[in-house]
């Protein structure tokens, strides 16, 4: 009979090797990163342009450009394009983030060429039909009404607006006026100025045919006519405001959403790995202090999380939870208490081993297989980093000590510099 009072030995994760993608400059200047797979007949490709919200001069332009690129080209209307994609069992998705516009396609290997051909058409020749735009605007306006019923939406919107300012690409979400103002001309010129001439990064993973670069080269010849390679401008953007408490009223809400945050630095800052570890201890995993205290000990919430969010020009600390109405004050007090504790007491050895092992296991899982590995690689490249930064992160996790964490907490977790937003009925 097994004796369960004896735990199995734990073996440290010693080697974490990030697969290195094949790198190729395409003839038109874009950079291609490719990680092959032999097992599954699936591939994924992401075309990343520096054309996110950061680059728009009129609010909402980047988002609507992305939403509208599939809605008709000079050769096919929206329904024809959608049918072509669906018939191949493929998915083509266009998204924007604060900094980038990404066209992503996934499909079965035998349809590689056909999927890429449609992708190129969507990228190079969208025509942004007037009536499709009117419909997208109508849908977005009504979705806004639904979002505004959610305390989590109200709180995070207020936090970001206050942190970076309503006019800053990291600080604003389009409102009614922005949406109504969007015109077809805006999308045409955004596409003409920010996408066609842009050098792009291309991330390809999975199983692909032998001549995969040839397909890319021939289809993309219309893009980036000056044949430049992609560059990242890494200037830091500043915060508009530090500290302060805000309340957004939402009638009849049964829970209050709490959002807290502060601007930190540009993502390449030397403190960034240590701060990632510190926020993991605070609220980055199930065994974190906030989770243990506010969920597992007090039962105030279903979940509470803290993390470092990184854009190209800024990283910020972000903390989020929803708590029942009667618990608001107590939960806030506990959050500040936990933050204060990180600033005054060194993290004990046991907890440090716990978080270290947890982060190493998570890192190993995060790069497991070509698709996940390339996704991590992509996030490094798009923040102006590279594989050596991942190595350094692992090294920092393995070697960090309590003193370093304490000084990070003193430096960055000053409660008077944290913005606090509550949305709900109090």
């Amino acid at each position: 009979m097994i004796d369960r009072s004896v735990k199995p030995d734990i073996k440290k994760v010693s080697s974490i090797r990030l697969l290195t993608p094949e790198e190729a400059g395409l003839s038109h200047g874009s950079l291609l990163y490719y990680l092959p797979d032999t097992l599954y007949d699936i591939f994924q490709i992401e075309w990343v342009f520096p054309a996110g919200k950061w680059f728009e001069s009129k609010k909402g332009t980047a988002g609507f450009t992305a939403r509208m690129m599939r809605e008709g080209s000079t050769k096919h209307n929206a329904l024809q394009l959608a049918t072509m994609i669906d018939e191949l069992g493929a998915e083509i998705d266009i998204r924007i983030s604060s900094d980038y516009l990404t066209v992503k396609a996934m499909g079965i290997t035998r349809h590689y060429e056909s999927i890429l051909k449609i992708m190129a058409e969507i990228l190079l020749e969208p025509c942004f039909p007037e009536e499709e735009l009117a419909l997208k605007k109508k849908i977005a306006l009504q979705q806004l009404l639904v979002d505004r019923e959610k305390v989590e939406y109200l709180a995070s919107k207020k936090l970001m607006e206050t942190l970076y300012g309503k006019d800053h690409p990291y600080g604003h979400k389009p409102d009614e006026e922005d949406i109504k103002e969007i015109q077809r001309e805006d999308l045409l010129s955004y596409h003409r100025e920010k996408i066609i001439p842009s050098p792009a990064w291309i991330f390809l993973s999975g199983k692909v045919p032998k001549n995969y670069t040839k397909t890319l080269d021939s289809l993309l010849s219309g893009i980036n006519p000056e044949r430049k390679s992609p560059q990242i401008d890494l200037r830091e953007t500043g915060a508009r405001r530090k500290g302060g408490k805000f309340f957004v009223r939402k009638e009849e809400a049964q829970q209050n959403a709490i959002r807290m945050g502060r601007h930190l630095y540009a993502p390449s800052h030397p403190d960034s790995d240590r701060m990632k570890i510190l926020t993991t201890i605070l609220g980055g995993y199930f065994g974190s202090r906030l989770m243990s205290k506010i969920r597992e000990e007090k039962g105030y919430t279903y979940g509470i999380y803290s993390s470092i969010q990184s854009h190209v020009h800024a990283s910020f600390l972000y903390l989020a939870t929803e708590v029942g109405r009667p618990y608001l004050e107590a939960a806030l007090a506990d959050i500040y208490k936990e933050i204060e504790r990180l600033r005054s007491e060194p993290v004990g050895e046991e907890e440090l081993t716990l978080v270290r092992n947890y982060l190493l296991g998570t890192a190993l899982n995060a790069i497991d297989g070509p698709h996940k590995a390339l996704s991590l690689y992509k996030n490094l490249i798009l923040r102006g980093k590279g594989p050596s930064d991942f190595k350094n992160y692992i090294h920092t996790v393995q070697n960090i000590n309590a003193g370093e964490l304490l000084s990070m907490a003193e430096k960055y977790l000053d409660p008077s510099l944290l913005l606090e937003v509550v949305a709900g009925e109090k």
């Binding site: 097994i2 199995p8 599954y40 959608a82 079965i108 959610k150 279903y302 296991g361």
Partner: protein
């Protein structure tokens, strides 16, 4: 193609192993054959509440998460109407930690008042966060109660009401644990960089001493056939009116499930699907719309739901949906359109199995359905469905006498 082996321990525990040498990770997935359908009508939400208590510690591992995390692992769980599933993802060299933890909580869960009290509160907050405090969040409570009168599918997994969660007692918890959490009611899958023989020997090492048991008796009442349309209108603080239509279909383990799943794909999978192109884009009646099958073990539901554009009444929306359903009943779907949705299914199934975590769950799940090997035949099953079957199924199922219709209206 997923290679695996399946064996049964003497105590009734089913063990499946699928060796994947390409990954440094391992997944330990344990599915317990218990869900909301096994609950008493006055104590709903219990299977899910119990899932939370499974993280409250066991005799030799008072802190489940911490023990797993210190070994580099992470975990989660979910409950639905039919099952409760737990999974641990861990560097393969530490797989024994996960097996130790899972076996200890199967053998000696620490059931105490304090853990129950906290989790009652956590689950109440989850109830608010995902249902009560969300626009349209109560829709499933209304719709399920409308569609089912006898069968326990009449309430959602979270439970019928907050009160049921608040009233759960320690006695309830103990009884539930004894009845459903034992080897004979569980399916363990081990996937990843562990050779099959080793996986089986580790499973024996950690689970063999648990007393043998058989699956509990199921006394779940069958839902009587519906004979006429059911309707309900709710008014709530929502910005747009919404419409939900539910139709009874056969259970997950029938051929007809695959037919109905393809029917809903024809209706709403992808931007070229019928409901999206016609009712959202062309007629502009709906702001969003979708159709799906719930995949329940016992006879389940096919659901069509959408939010209407401002100024469009639920009646208009409903009429347009009935028109689309009548097309499915009266016009044979062209081969090209049918192939389209089948291609999409093939991509989705293949894509999902890349994830080790999903593979672990899929093996346990198909074994619960009767045969883990089904994981490799799903695509064929969809491929084998013919257009005439879709038409026949639409004629039998997608009719008013089989429909439960909920209007979720904006409070004036």
């Amino acid at each position: 193609m997923i290679d695996f082996e399946c064996r049964k321990l003497e105590n009734g525990l089913t063990v499946i192993s699928s060796h994947d040498p390409a990954t440094p990770m391992a997944v330990v997935n344990i599915l317990y054959k218990v869900g909301a359908r096994n609950e008493h009508k006055d104590k709903t939400g219990f299977a899910h509440l119990f899932e939370h208590l499974m993280f409250g510690g066991s005799k030799h591992a008072p802190r489940f998460d911490r023990e797993l995390e210190i070994a580099g692992g992470s975990n989660n769980a979910f409950t639905n109407n039919d099952l409760t599933n737990y999974y641990d993802i861990i560097p393969a060299q530490n797989i024994e930690t996960a097996l130790w933890l899972e076996s200890d909580r199967m053998a000696n869960l620490d059931i105490n008042e304090r853990s129950l009290e906290v989790q009652r509160s956590v689950v109440s907050e989850e109830f608010k966060e995902n249902y009560l405090n969300q626009p349209y969040g109560r829709a499933w409570h209304h719709l399920r109660a409308l569609a089912y009168h006898i069968h326990p599918y009449q309430w959602p997994t979270i439970g019928r009401s907050l009160k049921h969660i608040e009233d759960a007692t320690l006695e309830d918890v103990k009884r539930f644990y004894k009845r459903f959490y034992h080897p004979g009611n569980a399916i363990l899958s081990i996937c990843g960089s562990i050779e099959n023989e080793r996986a089986f020997s580790l499973a024996r090492k950690w689970f063999d001493d648990l007393p043998g048991s058989r699956p509990p008796m199921q006394d779940i009442p069958a839902e009587p056939l519906q004979s006429e349309v059911r309707r309900k209108t709710v008014e709530d603080n929502v910005p747009l009116d919404a419409l939900y239509m539910a139709f009874h279909i056969e259970g997950r383990n029938t051929h007809s499930y695959y037919v109905n799943n393809l029917l809903t794909d024809i209706l709403s999978n992808g931007s070229s699907s019928r409901l999206y192109t016609r009712l959202v884009k062309k007629k502009q009646l709906f702001n969003s719309i979708s159709a799906w099958v719930d995949g329940a073990l016992d006879p389940g539901l096919l659901i069509v739901s959408g939010r209407l554009n401002q100024g469009v009444s639920p009646e208009e929306g409903e009429e347009a949906i009935w028109h689309e359903l009548s097309l499915l009943q009266n016009e044979r779907i062209e081969q090209r359109e049918l192939d389209k949705v089948k291609n999409k299914v093939e991509f989705e199934i293949t894509g999902n199995l890349i994830s080790l975590m999903h593979r672990g769950f899929a093996l346990s799940y198909y074994e619960m359905l009767g045969d883990a090997g089904q994981v490799n035949h799903e695509i064929e099953k969809y491929r084998g469905v013919e257009a005439s079957e879709l038409m026949k199924e639409a004629r039998t199922r997608l009719v008013p006498s089989n429909a439960s219709i909920l209007y979720y209206k904006r409070k004036k």
